[in-house]
């Protein structure tokens, strides 16, 4: 655990010392802020549900951009050899890098709590729904970041890793569109794989273990695959 924390802290410092992370966070906040204000001023509803729902789509692009360099860059710079010969396992490196990205995005989500606080000043939001929505968004975010880490492990090109991450997440975003047309048994499986379907309930104020398990499985699965791929490079 301590080794994971050391890797995570290193990644976090790298993020905080580069302008890209700030630019990415500012861009994300600008778009979600626009969604928030438009929803609030348009519907006058004391809620952030609409903003969170739309912000998920922006996350599809932001998460892979944030994570695309994590493993791909190590390969490109040739530092992976050094990293993987230290007394830290591949799994610890992958999880540590993921944790670094997750800390940045968690900080971003905490900043986004300003939105419901603003709503609270002028109305009476249902805080149960707000907290459930933010919790679901955080879980979805962890899955997105893990997917980004996975695509970053596939290549030594940051660009390819980023594009592959966006493509993968977009696929998971729209995968249930075909569910209605394909019918059973493929349709229900595709609907269950949809990354958005599982968020909808959180955003309505429902915490369901099924949805929590889904996002945690996705996170674990992508990190596991990323680890296997990196490990495979050592013996191939």
């Amino acid at each position: 655990m301590r080794k994971i924390w050391i890797v995570a802290k290193r990644e976090l410092m790298t993020y905080l010392q580069t302008p890209m992370a700030y630019a990415l966070m500012a861009g994300f906040l600008m778009i979600t802020g626009y969604f928030f204000s438009m929803s609030l001023l348009g519907s006058r509803a004391a809620s952030v549900q609409s903003m969170l729902g739309n912000a998920g789509l922006i996350l599809v692009f932001v998460a892979p951009i944030l994570t695309m360099r994590l493993l791909a860059d190590e390969d490109r710079q040739g530092t992976s050899e050094i990293l993987f010969t230290t007394p830290v396992s591949v799994g610890q490196v992958v999880v540590g890098k993921f944790a670094g990205a997750l800390m940045i995005m968690t900080a971003l989500l905490l900043i986004m709590l300003v939105f419901p606080l603003v709503v609270d000043q002028f109305g009476n939001p249902d805080w149960g729904v707000v907290l459930s929505g933010y919790f679901g968004f955080w879980l979805m975010m962890t899955a997105f970041l893990a997917a980004g880490v996975f695509t970053s492990s596939l290549t030594d090109s940051q660009l390819v890793a980023g594009v592959a991450g966006v493509a993968l997440l977009l696929l998971l975003w729209v995968i249930d569109w075909a569910a209605g047309s394909l019918g059973a048994p493929i349709g229900p499986i595709l609907a269950r794989l949809s990354i958005t379907n599982h968020f909808v309930e959180f955003n309505r104020g429902i915490i369901d273990t099924k949805n929590i398990v889904f996002y945690l499985s996705l996170t674990f699965g992508f990190l596991f695959l990323g680890t296997r791929i990196v490990e495979s490079r050592r013996w191939r």
């Binding site: 249902d126 104020g205 490990e231």
Partner: protein, 539 residues
């Protein structure tokens, strides 16, 4: 010998093979039974235990096949990956069966009542719910969340949402012509629930309904209960005297009350004879020709035998009644209907004196409308009054009446209050009861002293499609039915009442929020980034 055989058996390999078999069985049963089924539960649990035991025992490294250096790394890694993915699928499948859900909404919007949960847990037959709702609508989300709860509480409930725009053929197959219609099927029976059956509202703000309440749970639970327990009321609409058609002028009425759980049939007594035994309520709405004396006798016998009657007359202005047999039926119940139309300029709908908006006496039929401040309009209504020297067994209570400025008009083309037979407050509706048999079991919530018999209203025009949706018109009809069948409601699940959550912003506050959230917040993050970057550059 035994020892030799035991040593030859590769227990770990067997464990590994059993793990893969259990994983495969789980995935197959998951595909077949979707998220439920004891087969999947058993095989899933077995798969997790076996894979864990296999990995703990040294797993892949111990298999002779994988001892080969050529195959070991690649093949073992692949098998390991497949096993982990399999476990993740199994864990998700098992999690899909667990019903651990927490409704964090303040009003418990997605929590089913104990009554619904009990009905769902007692289900023995499958219930298929096909909801024809357009994607992306707020109503769709609300209904979908609710029906998911139904699925969670019973494996017999199967829900399918269909966008009627995307699958028009399926909508045609179910004869669905309007969006937001839900088809509930069980045991070969089908019920259609319209979107109107899912919401209540109290009054209007401008032209928009206000204080909208979602009563989807009440509607769905009642429908499931009726389909699976065969408890429903049959309404027989009497025809043959110029009454409006259930499939024409009363189409909206028919859709709505079927969605409320009533079965509707048309019955022509001249052709079909006396009402059948399964008739709970006979509805005689707006006849333009009189009943035959035998038909009036049959209806009297029906009421005497415990049947319920809704008599909705229509204006019959003239010096003499054109409906002697119909009127005799009313008089049998203690009500005399005048051959007139009520003119009430003080409470005329859109200044039309012949479309009075009646006041209401407090009664089970009207209490919901009074409490919700809903109005009804009764165009071309006959006035009526209780017969003073009535000696029959029935008792009547006025439920609708006009303003004191009203009069009984017999000439619609030249209205003149001076010629009126009656002026002042005129009754337009009565509820008729009889003393309840002391031996009879009193239904829960019903009056223990009297039993409902009939509702008489002066107008039937309010049931026609163009007026049926007006404020409380549909409620007046359904409340009358509920009272008549002596069950205040089949189930008493109150509608969810979400707390209105609105923000109130001045234009300046709106601008402040817009600029603050779209520019202020991102700028603050950029500023922090710039400070960090500059400090690092100067190090």
């Amino acid at each position: 010998m035994k020892k030799n055989l035991a040593s030859r058996i590769d227990w770990r390999s067997i464990l590994g093979i059993l793990s893969l078999v259990a994983l495969a069985a789980t995935v197959i049963s998951y595909l077949i039974y979707e998220t439920r089924g004891s087969a999947m539960r058993v095989s899933g649990t077995a798969a997790i235990v076996l894979v864990a035991a296999y990995l703990a025992s040294g797993g892949l490294g111990q298999l002779r096949f994988f001892r080969s250096r050529q195959f070991f790394r690649g093949s073992a890694s692949t098998v390991y990956t497949v096993a982990v993915i399999g476990i993740l699928i199994v864990v998700n499948a098992l999690a899909g069966q667990a019903n651990w859900r927490w409704d964090l909404t303040h009003e418990g919007m997605f929590t089913l009542s104990d009554q619904t949960v009990s009905i769902l847990q007692d289900l023995r037959d499958d219930v298929h719910i096909t909801a024809f709702f357009p994607e992306g609508s707020g109503i769709t989300d609300e209904v979908e969340s609710l029906l998911r709860e139904y699925q969670y509480h019973s494996s017999h409930v199967h829900v399918n949402f269909v966008d009627p725009d995307r699958e028009p053929a399926l909508a045609r197959q179910y004869e669905v012509t309007r969006p937001f219609t839900t088809i509930v099927e069980s045991g070969g029976q089908t019920r259609a629930i319209s979107g109107q059956n899912l919401y209540d509202f109290s009054g209007y703000t401008g032209n928009e309904p206000s204080d909208i309440q979602f009563r989807g749970e009440q509607t769905f639970t009642r429908t499931i209960m009726q389909l699976t327990q065969n408890i429903e009321a049959n309404l027989y609409f009497i025809t043959g005297h110029g009454e409006a058609d259930l499939y024409g002028e009363y189409a909206s009425l028919r859709t709505y009350i079927r969605g409320e759980g009533y079965q509707t049939k048309q019955w022509n007594p001249g052709r079909d004879g006396a009402l059948p035994d399964d008739a709970d309520v006979a509805v005689l709405a707006g006849p333009t020709r009189d009943l035959h004396p035998n038909e009036a006798t049959n209806l009297r016998d029906f009421v005497d035998g415990g049947g319920k009657l809704m008599l909705l007359a229509g204006a019959a202005p003239g010096d003499e009644s054109r409906f002697p047999n119909l009127d005799s039926l009313g008089e049998y119940l203690g009500i005399r209907m005048r051959p007139d139309a009520v003119a009430d300029p003080a409470r005329g709908y859109y200044m039309d004196a012949f479309s009075p908006v009646p006041r209401m006496d407090y009664h089970p039929v009207t209490e919901k409308l009074i409490e919700a401040e809903l109005l009804t309009v009764l165009p071309l209504s006959r006035s009526m009054h209780a017969i003073e020297d009535y000696a029959g067994e029935y008792q009547s209570k006025r439920i609708l009446f006009s303003s004191p400025e009203a009069w009984s008009e017999t000439n619609l083309s030249a209205p003149n209050p001076a010629n009126a037979e009656a002026q002042g407050v005129l009754a337009m509706g009565f509820a008729v009861t009889r003393p309840r048999d002391p031996e009879e079991e009193v239904p829960e919530g019903a009056d223990p002293e009297t039993e409902p018999v009939a509702v008489l209203l002066g107008s039937s025009a309010f049931l026609e499609s163009d007026l049926f949706g007006f404020q409380g018109n549909s409620d007046l009809f359904v409340s009358s039915l509920q009272w008549l069948i002596d069950r205040p409601d089949l189930i008493a699940i109150g509608p969810k009442r979400p707390i209105p959550r609105q923000v109130f912003l001045s234009p300046d506050q709106g601008r402040m929020i817009f600029y603050g959230s779209t520019l202020g917040l991102p700028f603050a993050v950029l500023l922090i980034g710039a400070i960090v970057w500059l400090r690092r550059r100067n190090l």
